[in-house]
């Protein structure tokens, strides 16, 4: 390598938008809460539980392949293995006094044992053995546990209790098939999920049917068991009591989300809670359960501490432990007005459903409840969550008995039929109509027509819509169309029915590809008086999307202009078309004029929905074109308009923060460093974003603005122990650590940086920036000391950072490259390639990062001997360098690497030509000094080796002589700072002796090629002698093997000069060295040894009688031993040796007899 690329990776470090940790803060009272993640990693973390003091989180993780017990103390810190069980563990449960932990172990019994662990001394003992199968455990109090057990695999379940201190015989509490038992804090009730056996002979554990609801069992037996059926669709699981006992939490699998035809534990789960009155005979009154999590999160395993709900949720492909306050995602103090305000700002259907569920619980008026239920039915239908939609239809029908709303029942019944039809429709195999399906749907049409008869207006239209949909789906397309055309949408008053109409038409016309019909629909519906402004704006956007879909910019402009002439001004559609008209002209040059135009429209319209639509459309378009100015202007204006009490404000603030940070990056990219620095700085003022601090530091340094240490010292003058201050200091130390010499100073800096980082890590437990920096520091330490333990730690931190940065592609890009480099430095080139390829799937903002990736990938391919791929990648790198002026400094490096890979790929001519071009570069002025002794030496070596490949022996000899001249000169090859060993193992650099050995080897080959065996032997003997001398001091296996190889060549040259005795002596010497190598490295054979054995055998078999076998060597025995090895360890590389050695062995044996 001519030029070091050590720092390329580091400067590409860019991070993510920091979300302030909310663990235990009880914050977020004014906005909808998001679950806070406690664990990280690509593996699954589940069954989390906090100790009573909330100082430790216990959970199960499969990060080491088996499910083992881990702990995080404090709960939002890094994880550590608590129990090295070497077997699966499940259901960890901390005792009420926090001193012990009960769990199910599969260590000695594959069907499960109940075990208890003392948390102070980690002493563990198991209370059951192989005579029974334990499945789940729960504490009754601090000394007694209840455990679910069965005598054998196929027998029924029962719940037993045992005192763990005196270990009296277990007694049976309940004999019933069940799962997930849990005990109320006062010890009065056990709640569990009842299950029933599906098949007589198959164990209930293997084949069961979950019954709906929960059973509440009084432990004292004073009253009867109570069945609790929540008024929810689906099945119930994982009951858990709150610490105070006032609430019973549980999971509800509401819908068949995986579309396998059944609702079970494989579907998405939502957490609920219901009030619990332990002293009552019926502890749960008939109340609607309170929804705590959004269905989008898929959370279960609720576990309650004093202040927190701990749960396992599935996000981004793996399970992790999350927390929410006890009242879930929606603060319990919210009133209907708060909920409605947040509904206005809600973005996703699931969030809206969560809010509607809350509203349903809060609303007292039946009319209002029915309206809410209609909205819920509509949203669930949109999401294809048909069980929920049906359940809420039932609720509407039940509620209407209390009211005089005449239309509610038919409305709900028509919706029920629509949902049932859709459920039938998706159940069709590959969409193939069946006779049964057609008949059932025709009957449905009959029912709907009967329902429709007495109806008028909206309800009649709805019935026609549903009938039309069914007819369309069973193939009666004309009848379906006729029904639709009968409906006059402008006469419909209900927004939900209008939306149903729009969806129906949009679906039909999208399938037929009738754009004009869709435009007609969106246009007219966007002015419908019954629609809200927000709905009209949405329809206007749909109109514009359909109008401009697939058209080039010019045509889009013409279409927008034409429509603006046709439609009424001041409608929502007109406003959005005016904005689009301006945005279609937007470019870097006219951005100020476009801004002014859009701002005029913005100021003219005071309605918040309209302004939001204008702002979001502008930001979306400007973002696509990379025009940050416009984004910044409107994000600022929009956020400044909204008062803090408006739920939309939080979204506006998030948008503003992201845009400021993006603008900073964009300005940095455009080399507008001053602006970038100011924007990064502005973000550091507003947030605790470590990413912004890093951006600020990088911009500041590029700007050469002054002493950063001093800047931060002043900034944190009043609070020098602030975690951000510690992080920044660690970052500044890490930035320069790679180049620090001597080693003592490096380790001193490492310790300082790590100490700062540790002091900031506690405050940023889930920060990828902190994990990345820890990884980087350990990576650099590994580079210095070669200690694999440091490499493993670096890998863990990088990997954790990668998991935490799942929403930050910038950070991911950096980490993937770092992971690749680390693996390559460990010699795991195939793993490195995997990471480099993943990195390549993300975009490149900086050309040097792209170059770094290409070169690193090429290097790894070279090391796995895929030389063609290495050449292809190095060629791409060369093309990149030639196309980008800022990369010119890397041209010699890339040419050198490409030439090397060409040589390896036996493209000697290309290699030779590249070396010649490289030599010409040396003569020209360059950004860095190229003509240093070491560079000239490497160039001559490259020329010599490619000339050898081309069989231009005289040319090769000429270049080798130049190498020798450079080596014999008194000047040092490198400056003092680049001496070998000064920068650690990865700054591996050869010494003069090594080059001399190399040059002698090449010279020997060149002379041999020219037929000058005597000169070849002299050069090779020099090589051998130097290797032997070095071996005396280094004692390395590699030198020993090189000596064996040199001996082989010496033997070969002697043989070519008709000196068989000399040849045999060299071969024997070589074989002796090869045997020593095998012994030292534990190898059975090596390629040089096999070559020597072949040579000796051939020599022996062909020689005159005086060439007797050396008794001490026992050639036959050695050939036999090697032959046996290569036969018992088959490798395609040894195919030729297997044939030849087998043949020679037979001949030797014959000769011996």
């Amino acid at each position: 390598m001519l030029i070091s690329t050590n720092k390329i990776g580091f400067f590409a470090v860019v991070l993510w938008f920091w979300l302030f940790p909310l663990f235990l803060t009880g914050a977020q009272t004014t906005s909808l809460r998001q679950p806070v993640r406690l664990t990280a990693g690509a593996s699954n973390q589940s069954m989390g539980m906090l100790d009573p003091q909330e100082t430790a989180l216990y959970f199960i993780s499969d990060q080491n392949a088996t499910s083992e017990l881990f702990v995080q103390t404090p709960p939002d810190s890094g994880s550590r293995l608590l129990l090295d069980s070497n077997a699966d563990i499940a259901w960890p449960k901390v005792s009420p006094d926090g001193k012990r932990l009960a769990y199910i172990s599969y260590h000695s019994d594959a069907s499960g044992d109940l075990c208890v662990l003392n948390l102070d001394d980690l002493e563990q003992r198991c209370l059951t053995g192989i005579e029974s199968s334990e499945m789940q455990v729960v504490w009754l109090d601090s000394s007694n546990v209840a455990f679910l057990t069965r005598p054998s695999m196929h027998e029924n379940h029962s719940l037993h209790s045992i005192n763990i201190d005196n270990r009296d015989a277990a007694r049976t509490l309940i004999s019933q098939n069940m799962i997930n038992p849990t005990v109320s804090p006062d010890g009065r009730w056990i709640a569990f999920v009842p299950v029933e056996r599906e098949a007589e002979r198959v164990g209930v554990n293997f084949s069961n049917r979950t019954k709906t609801g929960l059973i509440l069992y009084p432990i004292d037996g004073a009253s009867a068991s109570v069945s609790y059926q929540p008024d929810l669709p689906g099945v119930t699981g994982f009951p858990a009591f709150s610490a105070c006992g006032r609430f019973l939490y549980f999971s509800q699998y509401l819908n068949d989300t995986n579309r396998d035809g059944v609702i079970d534990g494989n579907d998405n789960s939502v957490l609920f809670r219901v009030e619990f009155q332990s002293k009552e005979e019926k502890p749960i009154l008939n109340t609607q359960p309170e929804q705590l999590t959004s269905a989008a999160w898929n959370c279960n395993y609720p576990s309650l501490s004093k202040n927190l709900l701990v749960m396992t949720c599935s996000q981004a492909g793996s399970l992790d432990i999350y927390t929410l306050p006890l009242d879930g995602a929606i603060p319990s103090e919210w009133n209907p007005h708060d909920v409605k305000q947040h509904l206005q700002a809600a973005r996703s259907h699931w969030t809206k459903l969560l809010l509607f569920a809350k509203l349903l619980n809060l609303e007292k008026q039946t009319h209002a409840r029915i309206d809410t239920l209609h909205e819920m039915v509509f949203l669930h239908t949109q999401l294809r969550e048909y069980e929920s939609a049906l359940r809420y239809c039932d609720q509407i029908i039940r509620l209407t008995k209390e009211t005089d709303i005449q239309t509610a029942v038919p409305h709900a019944k028509i919706m029920q039929e629509q949902v049932l039809h859709r459920r039938e429709d998706i159940a069709l195999i590959h969409g193939q109509l069946s006779e049964r399906y057609i008949q059932s749907e025709l009957q449905r049409i009959d029912r709907l027509e009967k329902l429709r008869e007495p109806l008028s207006g909206d309800m009649q239209a709805l019935a026609d819509l549903v009938i039309s949909e069914i007819r369309f789906d069973i193939g009666h397309k004309n009848q379906a169309k006729q029904l639709i055309t009968k409906i006059n949408p402008l006469e419909i008053r209900s927004p939900l029915i209008i939306k149903t109409f729009i969806h129906r038409i949009a679906q039909q016309e999208s399938l037929s590809g009738d754009r004009q019909a869709l435009l007609f629909l969106y246009h007219h519906m966007s002015t419908h008086p019954s629609m809200s402004i927000s709905d009209r704006l949405q329809l206007s956007e749909d109109f514009i999307t359909e109008l401009t879909r697939g058209e080039d910019r010019e045509t889009r402009k013409q279409l927008v202009d034409a429509w603006l002439q046709k439609i009424k001004p001041d409608t929502e559609l007109a406003v959005m078309l005016q904005v689009m008209q301006l945005l279609l002209d937007l470019n870097e040059q006219n951005q100020e004029a476009v801004r002014a135009g859009i701002f005029e429209i913005y100021k003219k319209h005071k309605d918040l929905d309209k302004r939001r639509a204008i702002v979001l459309q502008t930001i979306k378009t400007a973002s696509k074109l990379g025009i940050e100015y416009l984004q910044y202007q409107f994000a600022t204006t929009w956020a400044s308009l909204l008062k803090r009490s408006n739920p939309e404000r939080k979204h506006a603030e998030d948008l503003y923060e992201k845009i400021v940070l993006e603008r900073a990056y964009a300005e940095l990219f455009k080399n507008q460093v001053e602006g970038a620095r100011a924007h990064f700085f502005a973000t550091t003022l507003r947030t605790d974003s470590l990413e912004a601090h890093m951006g600020f530091i990088e911009a500041w340094i590029r700007e050469k603005r002054g002493d950063l240490w001093d800047h931060y010292k002043k900034r944190f003058q009043k609070n020098p122990d602030h975690p951000i201050h510690h992080y920044v200091q660690a970052y500044l130390l890490a930035r320069d650590i790679a180049g620090i010499v001597p080693h003592e100073k490096f380790y001193q800096t490492f310790d300082q940086a790590f100490s700062h980082l540790k002091r900031s890590a506690g405050s940023f437990p889930r920060s990828p920036e902190v994990q990345n920096l820890q990884g980087y520091l350990l990576h650099q330490k590994f580079v210095r000391n070669g200690n694999n333990h440091d490499a493993a730690s670096a890998y863990n931190h990088y990997y954790l950072a990668l998991d935490l940065a799942y929403r930050n592609p910038r950070m991911q890009a950096t980490l993937l490259l770092q992971l690749g480099l680390l693996q390559a430095q460990l010699g795991n080139h195939r793993m490195a390639i995997k990471y480099y390829q993943q990195r390549d799937r993300l975009p490149y903002v900086r050309s040097d990062t792209q170059l770094s990736q290409r070169m690193a990938l090429a290097k790894s391919y070279f090391h796995i001997h895929d030389h063609q791929q290495a050449v292809a990648l190095a060629r791409e790198a060369l093309k990149l360098v030639k196309s980008r002026s800022e990369l010119q400094a890397y041209l010699p490096l890339v040419m050198d690497r490409l030439a090397l890979y060409n040589n390896a790929a036996q493209d000697y001519q290309d290699a030779f030509d590249l070396y010649v071009q490289l030599g010409e570069l040396f003569e020209k002025p360059h950004q860095i000094e190229l003509g240093t002794p070491i560079n000239r030496l490497k160039l001559q070596l490259g020329l010599a080796s490619s000339a050898l490949g081309l069989k231009k022996y005289a040319t090769a000899t000429e270049h080798i002589h130049q190498v020798q001249a450079i080596l014999t000169a008194s000047t040092a090859l490198r400056p003092e700072t680049e001496q070998p060993g000064r920068l650690g193992i990865n700054a591996f650099k050869l010494e003069k002796t090594a080059y001399q050995i190399l040059a002698n080897g090449l010279l020997a080959q060149a002379e041999r090629g020219s037929g000058n065996y005597q000169e070849a032997a002299i050069a090779m003997q020099h090589r051998y002698d130097m290797l032997a001398k070095r071996f005396e001091t280094t004692n390395t296996d590699e030198d020993l093997l090189d000596m064996a190889q040199a001996s082989y060549h010496l033997g070969e040259y002697a043989y070519k000069q008709n000196q068989p005795v000399q040849a045999r002596l060299h071969f024997e010497q070589g074989l002796n060295e090869s045997n020593q190598y095998n012994q030292r490295t534990g190898s059975g054979v090596n390629p040089t040894g096999l070559r020597l054995l072949r040579a000796l055998a051939e020599l022996h078999l062909q020689a005159e009688p005086k060439m007797q076998q050396n008794q001490a060597l026992d050639l036959t025995q050695q050939v036999e031993k090697a032959y046996e090895f290569i036969c018992t360890h088959p490798s395609p590389n040894w195919e030729r040796d297997r044939f030849l050695l087998g043949l020679y062995l037979t001949m030797l044996k014959i000769q011996n007899t």
């Binding site: 701002f599 202007q633 204006t637 400044s640 008062k643 803090r644 100011a678 003022l685 947030t687």
Partner: protein
């Protein structure tokens, strides 16, 4: 919002001060010089710049001094000062200079400048005005004032919310100080 603890502390400080004054000032270990903050007023009733003589004849921080020293307003200098780390040409208002109390007061007597884009219409508008409701500075910090602000072409739509740009909003006490100061004619 000020915490109860702080209120109690202030109460304690004020009571202690009253007792000291009643007994003998030096006995409390007071070394405050005449005219300086906490010290007695000069014979002519004057104090050092930024301080005013209160009813107890003690020099105390004037309104603007209190504003300038408050945590929220201390952050202004991060952007509104020559060469400030957060100053962005075309984005940051350029007249204000919060480097020192004196420059801050002086520049606030002037008019806004240097803003571009949606905020440009507020260039040339006085920061203070006669009342908090007509003050551009107050409008940039207080959402209620901002919502009703009109001064020629500069309206609420043109004013960017300063609390967007810093962590932690100004407290109601800080905002009240600002309003009081403006109402009293923005004395130095």
């Amino acid at each position: 919002m000020q915490s109860k603890k702080t209120n109690l502390l202030m109460l304690f400080t004020n009571s202690a001060l009253a007792i000291c004054l009643a007994v003998w000032l030096p006995a409390c270990g007071g070394t405050d010089e005449v005219g300086t903050e906490g010290g007695a007023c000069r014979e002519d009733g004057s104090c050092d710049p930024g301080l005013k003589c209160n009813a107890d004849n003690i020099c105390e921080a004037g309104l603007f001094t209190k504003i300038f020293r408050s945590p929220a307003f201390q952050r202004c200098a991060n952007c509104h000062a020559p060469g400030a780390d957060g100053f962005v040409v075309g984005v940051t208002e350029a007249t204000q200079n919060w480097s020192t109390q004196k420059t801050a007061w002086q520049t606030l007597q002037g008019k806004a400048s240097g803003m571009t884009g949606n905020q440009a219409d507020c260039n040339g508008v006085a920061f203070l005005g006669n009342t908090p409701e007509t003050s551009l500075l107050a409008a940039a910090l207080d959402e209620d004032i901002r919502a009703g602000y009109v001064n020629g072409n500069c309206t609420s739509d043109n004013i960017s919310d300063m609390t967007l740009k810093i962590q932690g909003d100004p407290t109601s006490q800080e905002l009240n100080l600002l309003k009081e100061w403006i109402t009293k004619g923005a004395p130095e």
